[in-house]
Symmetry: C2
Subunit: 499 residues, 2 copies
Amino acid sequence: MSNQQQQTAICKKQQQQQPKHDDKHQNLIRFSLSLTFSALLNLILIVSFFLNMSMNPKHDQLTWSRKASEEAEAVSSLSCSGHGVAHLDGLVLDGGLPVCECDACYTGLDCSQFVPYCLIDVDNGNPFFLEPFWRQNAENSAVMMAGWYRMGYEFADGSLESKQLEKAIRMLHDTVGNAITKGRYIVFGTGSTQLFNAAVYAFSSKDSGSTTAKVVASVPYYPVYKSQTDLFVSRKYKFDGETMSWINQSEDSTNFIEFVTSPNNPDGQLKDVILGGKNVKHIHDLAYYWPHFSPIPIQLDEDLMLFTLSKLTGHCGTRLGWAIVKEESVYKRMMYYIDQTTYGVSRETQLRTLKLLNVVLQGNGRELFDFGYNVMRSRWERLSKLFSLSKRFSLQDLTQNNCTFFHKELRSVTPAYAWIKCENDEDKDCYSVLWDEANIKGKAGHDFGSESRYVRLSLISNRQDFDLLVRRLEGLISQEMKGVCEPSNYEGAFGNLTT
Amino acid sequence: MSNQQQQTAICKKQQQQQPKHDDKHQNLIRFSLSLTFSALLNLILIVSFFLNMSMNPKHDQLTWSRKASEEAEAVSSLSCSGHGVAHLDGLVLDGGLPVCECDACYTGLDCSQFVPYCLIDVDNGNPFFLEPFWRQNAENSAVMMAGWYRMGYEFADGSLESKQLEKAIRMLHDTVGNAITKGRYIVFGTGSTQLFNAAVYAFSSKDSGSTTAKVVASVPYYPVYKSQTDLFVSRKYKFDGETMSWINQSEDSTNFIEFVTSPNNPDGQLKDVILGGKNVKHIHDLAYYWPHFSPIPIQLDEDLMLFTLSKLTGHCGTRLGWAIVKEESVYKRMMYYIDQTTYGVSRETQLRTLKLLNVVLQGNGRELFDFGYNVMRSRWERLSKLFSLSKRFSLQDLTQNNCTFFHKELRSVTPAYAWIKCENDEDKDCYSVLWDEANIKGKAGHDFGSESRYVRLSLISNRQDFDLLVRRLEGLISQEMKGVCEPSNYEGAFGNLTT
């Protein structure tokens, strides 16, 4: 062995005696990789933690309200096959899940079964056509109530009315331009229903010996004016028929209280007062005087104007209406009526209304009214096209008008109801004709003080119910046309209608 | 240099030419430590992530309802110095935070400033004494409403009343044993206030030519029976004073509608009917016939019984009352009245009531009634001890009675109101005496058809307001005692009272 070989052998031996440096090197690489991976994992976990925090900044802060939120979201997540809806206070199944409440013509636990030739109920005025708007605005329209929310009778200022809600109502009228509220009093009612008689009471005489005021309305009129006034059998006021029949007698000493409904329910006509003179008081029911149902030609400034949430946002069940009142004495008598009959409007109702109106105000009303107007316009177009083919049935004739809100000189016609006339001599009871021949339940003309030759059909139901109604009416009119049209024409006509 | 030295030198050189193995070793240790630390951090982060997930299993699932929950919790977190409360629909400050609504005798933005010798308003019947119970049950009593919650007029069965709520009401009466509901009809009203006239209407004649029914009540009576009946000036019914004045005439052909209030408002006495005969109908107002206010000696089964949420859970602002009705014809007429005057009770009100009653039912009513009874018992004990020292003022005398609910033969007396009599000849107007001498605003005796020598003070306010009332009454009685007692006796007496 040479010297050099010896040296190398010794060196190797020394190297072997030391730790295995190559293994160490490999370990070092492995450790480096592991550490890099671990550090990266840490980084990802930390970033995702802060990302989670920033996306749900307060999720850990939700305490007492979380359970109620979860309940509400669980209920709303039930699809009900797209033909129904579940609510928190619906009937519950054994498992505790609420039952789906099905649209007309659907049944079954999940509303998946279609009921052929079911009854189409368009008697009521449920404005479900606005439900999709509220689903689109779910976040801003939700409201959470604590168990101790407003337990007392009065608000902080001793009144029964939320000043915040009053402010929102005034802002909305200013934005829409349909009624003047500046310097006017506002009275809330449990629906405008309660305000009908509150207004009649306020306008009737305080004197015990005075004559009974005559309450009147123009045919066709909303039936509750009569039935509610009749209910109390008051010595102070009495429903006394159609306005027109008193036109030459309103100057004498009899006191009149005239209901003026504009747009009118059922026929959607814009109306003006009929009776004049110092003995006549007017109650202007403006439930439908909003841009989705009506042109807004002028900003009204009447002595007593009634509005309701039901036909503004579609929340009928909430039961909130309001009166805008010019004279303090009338306002005070209306407030006294509300105090005495229900001691104000439910505070839950007032809070929820405030939430809903704030959503409407956020878009200066445009979003809600654009949505509503577009739906109603397309519905009226479909319907008027269909009825133009019929000689047996006619729709009310509505003239286009200007609308300051949409800045349009001539806006489309978008009434809430179809006021249908049966034109044939033999069809004296139009309500029965639709029921018997098409299984459609409308509201009979005589309910509105009108001829039985008329029937009112609601156009503000949800999309599916409206589609079913149109299909049923198409069937009815197609029967009529079979006698007068060539089949090809009739088919073509309906081909267009159903697209 | 020897051979060996040469070898070592060469080896060192070779070693120097290789990576520094010692440094590597140290790096290895550093890496190991870092990796261990990093892995530990990984472990901690992962564990905390899963812990967080398991504690808030669904926090990521809350979507549309989160914002409303956060708003409600933010408002409820305002302490208002413990002397007030903030609500979602309260007035808001510039920053958007709701203003604190302060208790009586406190003021300032955060209710921190005490107002010395302020007016103690115990005129109203706000049952704030139950508010702490609802704060204790915050999670189960909260309710979240979606923007599309019950937009329609009717429930799924076409009615205006939640069947779930009706069921809860029946269960509660069964649990408490205060009224029989089996086979009885239930009518909801916007507060029992609305049901007063609904019942009067239902009991009055349908015939147009019949006589006017006399509506009567026993003095002292709840003022709204008279003022509400007067309001309508109906040909069908008329408030006609005190029941006792008709005791010998109820057998003739006149129809009577007698209000029977038990326990009575204002004096807490258990009452029975006074008039009898086939022409007499009875409206049993049982607003206070719950275990926190009254003994429950028997389960009542009257023709028409009225209850209200206001005095059961303390939610006056919610405006929900109900009637339990035996006869179908009476039930139908009441339902017609509700339909015509408000078209049912707000659906928000019905949902919230359902939530609240479910909380009461969860503990078989024990939790709520134990809480309420204990508060009211201690208040009455303080008050009766105080008034026992006075000869100028006296409290109503209430006898102990058995209570089937608490399984007690003799339970303490726990009325909702003190019905105070000014005994001195010169104190003819007791309301003014308390106002002038102690700045206490009660409700005057003549409002209840009684002598002005009486005044009603509410005992169901919150703790602080009640304490202030007692201190003010102590001051009043101490003035009286200065003339008759030795100072030491008087001091001693009050020493016990204020502990």
